[in-house]
Symmetry: C2
Subunit: 118 residues, 2 copies
DNA sequence: CTGCTGTATTAGTATAGTTAATACAGCCGG
DNA sequence: CCGGCTGTATTAACTATACTAATACAGCAG
């Protein structure tokens, strides 16, 4: 379900966070479905349970999942998931637009990248 | 010339790299002008000269500056600087467009963010 | 020659990521 | 009710990276 990339310099827990977000937003993990337990995922990935817990705690903080003690961690509603992810992307996009504006890249320059890519 | 942000979790040398790029691309440091020396900038920022050197080494590796032993570090040509920076921004932009595509954000969604922001 | 420049090396410190071990509490099926 | 699953918390230790520190060497210019 998840593949870690040890060449990546980003922390493992961040990789897990991003991958889980993707799996949920893509619908691979349906809304309100149970995520792998902290311990089982730790075994599967051959890493420490604490690292998984850290990732899950952050996912809950951001609203992507909800935790029920004694039962497990569950994906939020579809609508919620999508809204959160769209907002994230918009934020990143705006950051870049600011950088572009700063060095005087024209709207056309930006639009062309968008159009040619899609 | 440069302000460090110790609240920022990014390494100091990265902040210096970005700030220097900006100063050069914006023309605050004109093409072929000499950058502050490793030692003087270290004193000015109250950090270790090694950290400056690391930033400068990376800037040279990326083509933003060129170093002359015994003389100093100098900004690359304007055209070069701009091309490098534009490529950087395009790359980041493409990454985001991929993320957006992955979750099925429409072209219009993207375009609207671009238009409303500028 | 003196004083600036860049460059390199080696060692030490501090912090963040990660592991490890353990404990406690809630849910559920037999 | 009990055993085994779940999440959550705590404390200690290890490791890698960022950063500091001290020092040395080499080139350029007045």
């Amino acid at each position: 379900m998840i593949n870690l990339d040890y060449k990546d310099k980003r922390p493992i827990y961040e990789q897990i966070i991003d991958k889980m977000k993707e799996l949920m937003v893509m619908g691979v993990i349906p809304e309100n479905a149970q995520l792998p337990s902290v311990r089982s995922l730790a075994v599967e990935l051959s890493i420490n349970p604490n690292t998984i817990q850290r990732a899950y705690a952050e996912l809950e903080r951001q609203g992507y999942i909800y935790s029920v003690k004694g039962k497990g961690n569950f994906a939020a509603d579809n609508e919620r998931l999508r809204d959160l992810k769209v907002d994230e992307i918009k934020e990143r996009l705006i950051e870049i637009l600011d950088s572009a504006k700063k060095i005087g890249m024209s709207d056309d320059d930006i639009m062309n990248v968008v159009k040619n890519r899609r």
